[in-house]
Symmetry: C2
Subunit: 465 residues, 2 copies
């Protein structure tokens, strides 16, 4: 969906004729929430008011999104949220309800309300493709538009990218640690209900194979999984009755949770009830390394050589790495994934780096605040590669292409929005699939040190020129 098509819908929603309303109600079932425009900080709107008054609102501006540092010890970050951002951009509209509320609160004046009512982002956005690896100072997004148009997006852009990139960056370490074993996202109960949906998507970008979250399954076609919790066993008069009920409902290929009472008894019971076709058993507590070995041996001795072992229970990348030596078939990851494994936000900022003056000439701008200074001018990033295609460095040219000294390089910036029109390959199910491929390819290109879980420096140097 492009901003243009959403614009038509927004107009339809504001119309009062029954026919128009009916068409709007029909599409509402599949649309995201009506407007994303108030998911923002008040200062974005007051800056627009002051800039409209000063005459500077129309100056052509370039804002860049970047982080000054990776979380302590991390080797790389993963860009995520780009697709969600572009989907939400289509709904970034100040409709009658939003305008009415702003007016009732007196937050901005009438000329500003008129500007907001007509607001449609008409500028250009470039950025690292979703799933791409980033380093400190990588310009992961570049927004070009009038000051008023670009300024308004700051909060929304950062909310989406900071969250989703934090989750994908943690998820990537987990899938790296898990190697060929599938990781399943099951953290919905440990994060805000809509962050849960976004987390499932970000995890998919970084290689998770499925999620427990149904809304994420619906929105982006992600595979979903889930069978039973301990409550299901406790509900029944015995573990045996609970297992029988589950196998009757879902067949022997289901996953039985075997640690409600005694694991060994439960595994024997599960094998007896479901037979050799039992799909999997899940362990959710205890010392999983030791237990997985015991359960594997027991299953094999019972003839359940094809029954898989799924483990969950506060797993993070380090726990997964330790479990790689145990006969585990897949990992269910919850809390540590949706909280970014210690780094719940990606520390990205949205900074004005270039604007025009009254004569239309471009001026590079930067602030000078201690510890928060920025580099003025538009950044042009390339990733340099050695002869075998191994990534070597993040080359960033300021105001022009970077010096490459003849090295092989790869382009990092791709067009995401041109003249307000969203590039379709980055949104929806296709967007997630493309981001997942991009992540796998970019990760494969990194030096081997990228896969170390120990604390260390960013795996690629960022070189300005």
């Amino acid at each position: 969906m492009t901003p243009q098509s959403a614009s038509a819908q927004a107009h339809a929603a504001r119309a009062t004729s029954p026919a128009a309303a009916a068409s709007s109600a029909e599409s509402a079932a599949h649309a995201p929430s009506p407007s994303t425009a108030l998911l923002t900080d008040q200062y974005e709107l007051t800056m627009v008011q002051a800039a409209l008054a000063s005459g500077a609102a129309g100056r052509r501006c370039v804002f860049e999104v970047f982080t000054r540092h990776l979380p302590a010890g991390r080797r790389y970050g993963v860009v995520a949220g780009t697709g969600r951002l572009l989907e939400g951009l289509a709904a970034f509209r100040f409709g009658a309800a939003e305008i009415g509320w702003l007016r009732s609160r007196g937050i901005v004046d009438e000329p500003t309300l008129e500007f907001l009512a007509d607001y449609r982002f008409s500028g250009d956005i470039h950025g690292y493709a979703e799933g791409e690896i980033f380093m400190p100072d990588s310009p992961v997004l570049r927004v070009e538009a009038s000051f008023a148009e670009a300024c308004l997006l700051e909060t929304y852009v950062l909310s989406v990218l900071n969250h989703d990139s934090a989750i994908a960056s943690a998820a990537s370490r987990m899938t790296v640690a898990a190697g060929d074993r599938p990781c399943v996202e099951m953290g919905s109960r440990r994060t805000q209900e809509f962050s849960a949906v976004a987390s499932a998507r970000a995890a998919a970008v970084a290689g998770f194979t499925a999620t427990s979250n149904l809304e994420a399954g619906r929105r982006w076609g992600l595979p979903t999984l889930g069978t039973a919790a301990h409550a299901f066993t406790l509900l029944h008069d015995s573990e045996e009755e609970a297992f029988q009920a589950q196998v009757r409902a879902f067949g022997p290929g289901t996953t039985l949770l075997v640690d409600t009472y005694d694991v060994e008894t439960a595994v024997r019971r599960a094998a007896a009830i479901a037979g050799p076709e039992l799909g999997a058993v899940r362990l959710d507590s205890g010392d999983l390394v030791e237990q997985a070995g015991e359960v594997r041996a027991l299953l094999d001795s019972l003839g359940n050589t094809g029954t898989r072992i799924i483990v969950s229970s506060d797993l993070d990348e380090h726990a997964i790495a330790r479990l790689q030596s145990a006969p585990v078939d897949s990992y269910g990851v919850g809390t540590k994934l949706v909280t970014g494994s210690g780094s719940p936000t990606a520390a990205m900022v949205y900074k004005l780096v270039q604007r025009t003056d009254d004569d239309g000439a471009t001026v590079a701008v930067a602030k000078n605040a201690p510890g928060k200074s920025s580099v003025g001018g538009v950044k042009h990033p390339l990733r340099s590669l050695d002869g075998s295609g191994r990534a070597m460095a993040e080359l960033i040219g300021v105001g022009a292409a970077p010096q490459t000294n003849g090295q092989r390089t790869r382009e990092l910036m791709v067009p995401l929005v041109r003249g307000g029109v969203v590039a379709e390959e980055h949104v929806g199910e296709v967007g997630v699939a493309n981001a997942r491929r991009r992540h796998a390819a970019s990760l494969a290109e990194l030096p081997p040190a990228a896969k170390r879980l120990q604390d260390g420096d960013p795996v690629l140097p960022t070189i300005f020129s």
Copy 2:
């Protein structure tokens, strides 16, 4: 809005006549997103299917929400999200779109889809009032209904309470550290866009006086604040022009951001342009303690004795405590607030503790998993108080009122939902105001050690009987 009234809306939304659709479209502008029912884990639905098949779905169940431990070093936790949860409960409906998607994926069978299509929570919910202090094992929520009705809510309940309680628990330490100085929530850019809205609300429960987040202002009537970012200064040809533009737009009572270039120059400029009526200056970088003192002296020397100093820049409760000795008037808190100051989730779980058997007799149930065992039976909490009204302990009776040994006690559980009908005093603007009062009163009741920021044990012992 009660579940009943929302139910009527949901039916209207599914109707296809233009008149019904028009009525639905009109209300849509003020309604939350159409359905919250897919903001859930798949296993909640598959458990319902298996329980419907086994005949156990109708067993009357009691689920309790509690945490086994506070975040390391924390003295207390703050219940938050209850009002949001009750607001979302009204929209926890499987409409045609949700049912259609579940069917297309084959996630549950037709009898289960029929059950879901008719789903209206008709049970009872009690809990700690929002804003109340909790300790390890405090039963902060109790859901009583058939297994199928109560099971379905697990993920949604935990998503809301785990997030909002984590934020409120961090926010409470910040407002405690800030004493009489106002704290303003400005973390939207560092967390997921809807978590930002919820964070603003949770911070208000814990005593924050305002938020930068507009959607939170709209939904719950929270005071909102915001003036300008560094980009506004950089947009103009000089800092002087930027300050003039802002003062023209918002009057001299505005807040000017003075650390884009040189703080001393900027403060002199701000005072010269806005005069003695200048509302405030904001510092967003550097060593704030030293700088606040210098800026205060400078402002006073310029005759701006009434101009306030607002500081922001990665503040947490410890930074605020350090700044209490500096002449700072209010704190803007962002990243550390919305990420729970190191503890982004409250580790609450939703556990079946009692059910009926086939004869209708109640049975206390508990699992036995290592490190995750639970105590069966319904918990009855009271807070014991000494003669002066100081909180002494969390008394928890299992299956009956706790032993009080003649101590004075205070009731902690309040009715939130009765027979599916939400108690209105817990939702909307009124709900936030009541929660804020509850938090202030419960905090004031705690022993002085509760206000220590150093790591320590929970300030009240939890005593089972």
